[in-house]
Symmetry: C2
DNA sequence: ATAAATATATAACATATGTTAAGTTTTTTA
DNA sequence: TAAAAAACTTAACATATGTTATATATTTAT
């Protein structure tokens, strides 16, 4: 198996890593700090692109609504992640919405400033487009999981993915999401999600405090992937 | 509802439409005709990109394998479609595989020739990247359907999508796919798919001859989307 | 053209998931 | 801080989907 997490992570926090120190300075100087309240949108489907964001603090969900209006979450962003650039290349509208799950601190680069950066740093555009290609593969993997795995396996996979992603910010932190949001990632109702969580809890695979989920037995979760 | 089909179609057959006649001539001159046998691969996951393809005749499936090795099909290409360009921008490996479902006739543009075209036709790169953005939205919509819809609704949606896509080539043609492939699009077993097909048949929504599916009542299929 | 292999159709049964409902805990608001 | 609202947990029941099995049709190879 190829690295498990790279199959499901956008890895946008690496976008600026390949730059020289001077180039990085150019990028960081272009950033303007912004505070965004829990529940408000960084951008929304069909909206006109304004620029790109890098999350400094907090979490955000990227989602799209199906015909029935139900929210389908397909990514949770955490600190370090860069987002909002798809729509800038190609001059189109946003394809999805992004909402702050808690109060956020972000660095914002306005559209025009970003285009200037692309001119000044030759390698940058290719890095971004390469990452869009990688993200495309991530979505294809998410499709495979949703189409092929039963509820417990989908939950297991997503618990592993989310713990890993959340730990980057905060060592040994648990998974703190509303049951509604977690259900909207996994593709089920919050009640069915609750049943699976209880099973996992009874088997000692996870522990729950308040609503925060802590993984206790990652081996057993990995076993579940085989279903 | 935004145009139903644009939510699920890559629309790559429109990529060269915006070009001037002269530019189009440049593109068409760069193409080299190729025959590909049923069952062989145009490209495969982790392979090194060689160029792009436009399908002249036949159908191809784009898929990815999950951990369990099960094939997840996330797109069926038909004549006019252009494919294989994601990996060329950004210099990466293919993220997925593409297999001929029948004997294909394609036009091929080799990597170097394609890059030359991008230099000679300024608008072309943006058009391609814009389309990758659109395709990203299509995958997100597919995720929403797989996560939120029950089997009959998923089948209904995909029958409407596939009929529309296949009709472009051949007026009033039916949907001719193996049950296995159709099940691997919809995210179920071929037996469960068979049960749903029988239900639809009994209700007069579809007719089946040999294995080819003909839609008889599109209204009723649209009703099913609400589930 | 025939036999063998593969794909399809269908049914019966087992299991997983959706749904409704009620009680409990946690968070938000006044 | 108390009251109200929202989120969570759990259970029982209904339904949808997975699975196994068998018969039939279609395609492929000889």
């Amino acid at each position: 198996m190829k690295n498990f997490h790279s199959q499901f992570d956008f890895e946008s926090e690496l976008l600026f890593d390949a730059l020289t120190p001077d180039e990085q300075k150019l990028v960081f100087n272009a950033m303007e700090p912004l505070s965004i309240k829990k529940g408000s949108l960084l951008f929304y489907e069909e909206g006109i692109p304004t620029g790109i964001f890098q999350i400094k603090k907090g979490k955000a969900k990227k989602f799209k609504r199906g015909f029935s209006g139900t929210e389908q979450i397909f990514y949770i962003y955490t600190p370090g992640d860069v987002l909002g650039y798809h729509a800038l290349f190609g001059e189109e509208r946003y394809q999805d919405s992004c909402e702050a799950l808690e109060d956020l601190e972000v660095n914002f680069i306005a559209k025009d400033v970003f285009f200037k950066l692309l001119q000044d740093i030759p390698a940058l555009q290719q890095t971004f487009i390469k990452n869009i290609g990688h993200e495309f593969g991530v979505l294809a993997n998410i499709i495979a999981v949703l189409a092929q795995k039963n509820l417990n396996a989908r939950l297991a996979i997503n618990l592993l993915i989310l713990e890993n992603r959340f730990q980057k910010q905060d060592k040994k932190s648990g998974i703190d999401l509303t049951r509604e949001d977690l259900a909207n990632i996994i593709g089920t109702s919050s009640e069915s999600l609750g049943r699976s969580l209880k099973q996992f809890k009874d088997e000692g695979i996870i522990e729950i405090e308040k609503r925060v989920i802590y993984l206790k037995n990652r081996e057993q979760l990995l076993q579940l992937l085989k279903n």
